[in-house]
């Protein structure tokens, strides 16, 4: 068992419930897509799994360990086994792509090696290889602020490919890419996870991408799991219910509720 949630509940600072998941597990090597309208709790769930949010109640188990029962340094070592792909890649504008990709293995490198690599990138071949899988090898020595949004997203993905973590979490990893590129990039992610027997959990806006690339799909609505089934069993009615937009029809009455967003640490 790779990931397990038991009786998990997460509250916002204002006391509003963001997520409630009585039971969920993802086995090692599984590929799962998370879908649901915005504000359904996809990002919150991913951040719980990345040990970036602590559940208000219940237990999140990662690799058979509860990260919140561990000491700080052991938790950092656990975090090195998890790769999180952010929707907006958190890359310093002035950093070169090669350095941004190599930063993926900081959790595995000793300090001296990281500091040398900052001045003179040591594993250039490794970074180039990760970028080549996303057709970006020609950008190796460019600066991050010279790339487009879609290219930056791919650099963020290349960083996690280079990190090669046991658990890959991706938050809308292809939102800034055109459909063709998005499909290709997802294929790369899925193939990488399959080859390494790594677990992949991805939130996606596009239902089509989720159904085409992932064997298992979890539908989230208002912070709860609405369905959790094999992609081939997902019925159009499930999707209609998942995205039935009562918020929009209520938006005129309760404008704040429609905008309620996850509080971010």
């Amino acid at each position: 068992m790779n990931v397990r949630l038991t009786g998990v509940e997460l509250l916002h600072t204002n006391g509003q419930r963001a997520l409630i998941i009585p039971e969920m597990h993802v086995n090692r090597g599984e590929q799962v897509a998370l879908i649901g309208s915005s504000g359904a709790g996809k990002t919150t769930l991913l951040r719980l799994l990345a040990s970036s949010l602590r559940p208000s109640q219940g237990v999140v188990t990662l690799f058979d360990q509860d990260p919140w029962m561990l000491s700080g340094s052991i938790r950092q070592r656990l975090r090195a086994r998890i790769g999180l792909i952010h929707q907006a890649p958190p890359l310093p504008a002035r950093q070169r792509v090669v350095t941004a990709v190599l930063a993926g293995r900081l959790g595995q490198w000793p300090l001296w090696r990281s500091l040398i690599s900052l001045v003179y990138p040591l594993d250039r071949a490794g970074a180039a290889q990760a970028l080549a899988r996303l057709d970006l090898e020609d950008k190796l020595f460019e600066r991050c602020d010279q790339l487009s949004g879609g290219q930056l997203q791919r650099v963020g993905i290349a960083r996690v490919l280079y990190q090669a973590p046991e658990l890959v979490l991706a938050d809308e990893p292809v939102s800034a890419m055109d459909p063709l590129l998005a499909s290709h990039t997802l294929k790369v992610l899925v193939k990488d996870a399959q080859a390494r027997q790594a677990t992949l959990i991805t939130s996606l806006h596009s239902v089509e991408l989720a159904l085409n690339h992932f064997p298992r799909v979890i539908g989230l609505r208002q912070g709860a799991v609405m369905f959790d089934k094999a992609a081939k069993d997902v019925h159009p009615d499930d999707l209609a219910l998942l995205y039935a937009n009562e918020q929009l029809s209520q938006a005129e009455v309760h404008p704040q509720r429609a905008q309620a967003t996850v509080s971010r640490c």
Partner: protein, 276 residues
């Protein structure tokens, strides 16, 4: 149309009142400080001042004086540079300890670090406050007593005061630049120093460099002032020349300061424009 009276400015009265109040409040300050500009112009003072100022031209440029000037300039630069280097050695580790930007515990508890972290940061910040709250001239006077006349006192005084200033400002620079890169790295299991080097430094280095060079420029000026209390360099030379009413020497020395400050400005610009 032409004869219509101009609309009354509603802000006119309040502005007049505030100006009046400000003048009323400022006058006692002038009186209390016994400031009297006219003392410059009366009788003996005026002619003394005129003679002294007339002596500013021509600039002193005989070889013997130039040799002294060169040596004093080098000494001043050495004091400022050594002082800033030592200050940096104090400030850099202290700023890493003092900044909230590298808190791992702030990753989850809604951005607020653990109490142990907060305590450590408060202690380090308090130390930095103590270091910089005592002016460098006072430290210089203390060190002149302790290690004797000469540049060492100046170097130590700059190191301590400027260490406090650099440390505080570095820590605040780290907190003001975007923190997503650092947090993402911490969340991927990197240590604080690694996250600093890969997430913060690329964005913060520009501001750090410009502030450090600016402080170096300030250190040059400060070392001049400390020269008056015997800490060596150009300041000591200015003190001597002033006492001897050697106006030409004073103006040469002042021009040298100007050149040093312009030089510091150019270096700062050069470093900021160099993109690696």
């Amino acid at each position: 149309m032409l004869n219509a009276p101009a609309p009354r400015d509603p802000a006119a009265w309040p502005r007049l009142l505030i100006t009046g109040a400000a003048l009323l409040l400022l006058w006692p300050g002038v009186a209390l400080s016994e400031f009297d500009i006219f003392v410059l112009f009366n009788g003996a003072n005026a002619s003394l001042m005129a003679d002294f100022l007339a002596g500013f031209w021509p600039l002193a440029h005989d070889l013997a004086f130039l040799a002294i000037l060169g040596k004093a300039t080098l000494e001043t630069l050495a004091i400022a540079t050594a002082g800033i280097t030592l200050a940096w050695l104090i400030a850099f580790p202290a700023s890493l300890l003092a900044t909230r930007a590298l808190s791992i515990s702030a990753l989850h508890c809604h951005g607020s670090p653990s109490w142990q972290g907060r305590l450590l940061r408060t202690v380090v910040r308090a130390i930095l406050v103590v270091l910089r709250s005592i002016p460098e001239i006072v430290w210089a006077l203390l060190f002149v007593r302790a290690v004797g006349l000469g540049p060492t006192a100046g170097v130590l005084a700059i190191a301590i005061t400027y260490g406090g200033m650099l440390g505080k400002v570095y820590a605040e620079i780290f907190e003001s630049v975007p923190n997503q890169p650092t947090r993402a790295l911490l969340l991927a299991g990197s240590s604080r120093l690694q996250a600093f080097a890969y997430g913060l430094l690329p964005t913060a280095s520009d501001e750090m460099i410009s502030y450090t060079v600016y402080r170096w420029e300030c250190a040059i000026r400060a070392s001049v002032v400390m020269g008056f209390v015997g800490a060596g360099g150009l300041g000591q030379q200015v003190d001597l020349s002033l006492r001897m009413f050697a106006g030409g020497e004073v103006s040469s020395l002042l021009l040298t300061f100007l050149a040093l400050v312009i030089g510091a400005d150019l270096i700062s610009r050069l470093l900021r424009e160099t993109r690696l």
